[in-house]
Structure formats: structure tokens, C-alpha cells
Amino acid sequence: MDDVRDAMMERWERVYREEAPRVFRALLASLRDRDTARDALHEAFLAGLERPPASDENLAGWLFRVALRRSRRGPYRPVLLRLADALLPAKDDELKQTLDRLEAGRLLQLLTERQRAMVVAQYYLGLQQTEIARLFNVRRGTVAATLTQALARMRRGGQSAF
């Protein structure tokens, strides 16, 4: 039994390592905070370690989704993290400067966090709207509406011919 569990853990770690770089960048673009993105990705890895996704299909989307949830942990976070945050203030100026230099970063800044997540899921991770809907546990119509609003914002605020 332990052998089976060990094999599953090793396999999960292997597939995680394949997807992690891309998912991490997607999280950076969505969350605009390196430490939050990294910690959230770690937690998604651990969630999969304990309870792997049902199938190998769309693992990047699964990691992205779980990591986003982790980044939004609610009432428990302040109990232990507020002090840590106070002691070790994050330094994300470099990331924000990079995002500000990149067209995608400037466009994403025009959006809400939820819009950013869905835009990144679709246009960077390449997920279909049905996949995004399933991952975010919303209807496909909600995804379509959110993306439409996001596109409108980006068109109004951006200078790209997309």
C-alpha cells in the first residue's frame, strides 16, 4: 500500500514539475506577486499530492485553479501570516516593473483579479471556455461574459489592435 502511495507521489511530482513553470508564470500574471504565486503553486502541488486530479487531462488548468484558490485562503491566513508578512515584507517591485513593461502586463492591470485569471487561463494556458467554466466552477456563460467584459476593458484601455 505504501509502495503504491509512494509511486503515486513520485508520479505526481514528475507531472507537476513539467507543468509548474508555465503555471507559475500564469499565476504571476494573475496575482502580480511572486511570493503569493510561488506559495499558491506549492500548495496546489501538495493538494495534488494528497488527492491527485481525477485525470491527467489539463493538469496545468487544475494546478492553476487550485493555486488560485490557495492564494485566496480566508480567515485562517491572518492567524499566522500577518506576523510573517510584517516581519518579511514582500519585494515585488521587480516583477511589477517587468509586468508594466510588457504589453500583456499592462493589459492585465486593467482587469479585476477574476478577469485576469480567466484571461490568463484562456489566452496563456490555452484553455477552452468549457474547461475554464469547469475549473472555476461557474457556467460557461459566466466565463464568456467575464471574458467579454475583460476584452472590452482591455480594448478601451489598451493600445493593441487585437
Binding site: 506549492h42 488527492r51 485562517y76 499566522l80 516583477l95 490568463v120 489566452y123 461557474v138 467579454t148
Partner: protein, 217 residues
């Protein structure tokens, strides 16, 4: 709806963002060092605290109960506070301490621990390579103790292969109890010195105040 231009912009630009270093691919204490903007003792205390915090967060992540099998639920493995007066807001204590092994709670209940992570037991300046070594290092005078894997009733030996990073170890030494955690990666070598021991007390099982899921609207 899809915009090929937008897709090209995002693929081009997001791939330019800095990636993860190999040593921070998995949870580790090391990445936190880059954040230390404070000096001396505060840095050490902060790193220690954050290491534990990361440990707690990752440990909490392991025990989530996803409703759709994606592991994306929100039940942490345990909640730790520094005093009995700090039980998380909105929670209810539903069962008092009644241990036959490591803390374990049924259903949606979560073990509540009182532990001080700011003052590590034994004044360890770094972690130990194993859970047992961390405990012995922090409590050199304690020789009679029993180790349990988290949530399990049966004792384990210090060299039990099931003792792995991310899975806390509970130690009972007489009337004192200890939590030993390692926030390292699952494949970290034993020389990583990533195990830390803390005196901890299981207060009972709590329910309520679930962390927020990703909003649906």
C-alpha cells in the same frame, strides 16, 4: 470571441516573466531568505516563523477535501494558535482533547493546536534531518517519548518510511506533547535539516469559519 492577437501577446509576454528557480520548484525554506529585509535576530526569528507558517500552510493543504475530486477544498490539516484565547473567529469547539494517538477529528472538524512557533524549543538555529532528530535536539533531556504520524493512533519508529516532509509528526512525552513539522519538498534529501519541533497542545476539534473558496460571481 477568441483573439489570435491577444493570444500571441499573452504567450509572448507571459513567457518572459521570471520563472521558478529549481530549488524553489517545491516548497522550501530557502526562498524566504530573499525576502529578509530586516536584520539580525529579527531575520532569524522571521525566517523561523515563516518556515513554520509555510509548513502549516502546506500541511493544511494536504488534508483538503475537494468536493469535485480536485483537492481544492478548504479544510486545513490543523489550525494552530499561540494561546487558548485565540481560537479562530467563528469556530466552535465541538470536542475536547481525547487523544489516543496523534490529533484527529472526524468529518469537517479540524484539530486545534496551541503552540508557540516564535520561540522554537531548544533554541535550534536550524532544522534537523529527521523528525526524531529535531525532537531530540530540542529536548535533549527527554528520552521517553512516543511518535505518531499525523491523525494515526499507532506509534511509529523514527525511521518509519511513512515519515515524510509535509506529514506532521506528533510526539507524546509524558504529559507533554510536541508537533514536528518539515516544510521541505517530498523528495528532499535527509540532509536538508528541515524538521523542527515545537511544544504543542491539542485543544480539541473545531468547526466553522471555512476559508473562502474562489468566488463564483
Amino acid at each position: 470571441m477568441r483573439s489570435e492577437n491577444l493570444e500571441a501577446i499573452f504567450r509572448r509576454d507571459v513567457d518572459r516573466l521570471p520563472g521558478l528557480n529549481d530549488d524553489e520548484m517545491l516548497a522550501s525554506m530557502r526562498p524566504q531568505r530573499s525576502r529578509s529585509a530586516v536584520g539580525g535576530t529579527v531575520v532569524l526569528a522571521g525566517v523561523a516563523l515563516l518556515a513554520v507558517v509555510v509548513g502549516l500552510r502546506v500541511l493544511g493543504a494536504r488534508d483538503d477535501q475537494g468536493t469535485n475530486g480536485d483537492g481544492a477544498g478548504t479544510r486545513p490539516m490543523f489550525i494552530a494558535t499561540e494561546s487558548t484565547a485565540e481560537r479562530p473567529t467563528g469556530t466552535t469547539l465541538v470536542a475536547e482533547n481525547a487523544l489516543t494517538g496523534a490529533p484527529a477529528c472526524p468529518g469537517n472538524q479540524i484539530p486545534w493546536l496551541v503552540a508557540s512557533f516564535s520561540g522554537r524549543t531548544g533554541g535550534q538555529s536550524s532544522g534537523a534531518p529527521t523528525a526524531e532528530a529535531a525532537f531530540r535536539s530540542a529536548n535533549p533531556t527527554v528520552t521517553d517519548f512516543v511518535m505518531y504520524l499525523w491523525t494515526e493512533d499507532g506509534p511509529v519508529r523514527g525511521d518509519d518510511p511513512r515519515i515524510r516532509p509535509f506529514i506532521p509528526v506528533w510526539i507524546v512525552a509524558g504529559s507533554d506533547t510536541f508537533l514536528v513539522v518539515s516544510p521541505g519538498s517530498s523528495n528532499a534529501p535527509s540532509t536538508t535539516n528541515n524538521w523542527f519541533a515545537y511544544q504543542a497542545k491539542f485543544m480539541g476539534c473545531i468547526v466553522g469559519s471555512s476559508p473562502h473558496p474562489f468566488p463564483s460571481r
